[in-house]
Amino acid sequence: MSGEVKLQRNLVQYGPVGRDVTEHGFTARQLARLDEALTLSSRESGLVFSVYVGELRPPTRAHAEALFEKLTDDSVLVAVAPGQRVLHIVTGPDSAKRLPNRACALAALAMRAAFANGDLVGGIVTGLRMLADSAGRI
């Protein structure tokens, strides 16, 4: 399912510069914030965080879990569909031990508040930080 999504590795490093919006809908500055949050939270917690931004086919939860199946046991997927106003946090067998569903729900709540204000990148960054804090250090 949905193997069409390309993985954006080192996107900030090799991506466009300036204020232009890329085809993903983010400016270079926003991408830099995303990259920093992803890298820091992954390094601190030892879990592999990844962020998917785009359309999720209904049922959206099943699509997010299908995307997650390509990752590893210690991964955490944050899937955000701005058009459908839906977000999913998916944990795997190993990451669920460090991140109980209650911690994920708390992060989802904070992200919802930011998204409802129109702050897409800020919400993702906040969610990643909260998840990394909940998981604790390695």
Binding site: N10, V48, E69, T72, I89, P93, G118
Partner: protein, 84 residues
């Protein structure tokens, strides 16, 4: 005053003032936030999947291999959902 002068004074000057005020109000957001997301607006951009820098991941080689292989490697266990 000729007609041209009259038009310049009574139309040109107010229009210039309105333009300056409009730029002061909206200019910054147009220049700095060309893609400001607003709830309810459609998201027409390509889907993107961002992963951390490989150096930040502890066991990056196996993870990289699995991502490239595009096969089912794990199953979802828990998490949370939300709508706004």
């Amino acid at each position: 005053m000729t007609i041209v002068q009259t038009v310049l004074v009574f139309v040109g000057i107010p229009a210039a003032i309105v333009a300056v005020i409009a730029f002061a109000v909206y200019g910054k957001s147009i220049l700095h936030q060309p893609n400001r997301y607003r709830p309810g607006k459609p998201w027409s951009y390509e889907p993107a999947w961002f992963v951390p820098h490989p150096d930040a991941v502890v066991h990056q080689t196996s993870e990289h291999k699995q991502l490239e292989a595009n096969t089912i490697t794990t199953t979802a266990v828990g998490g949370a959902s939300g709508e706004w």
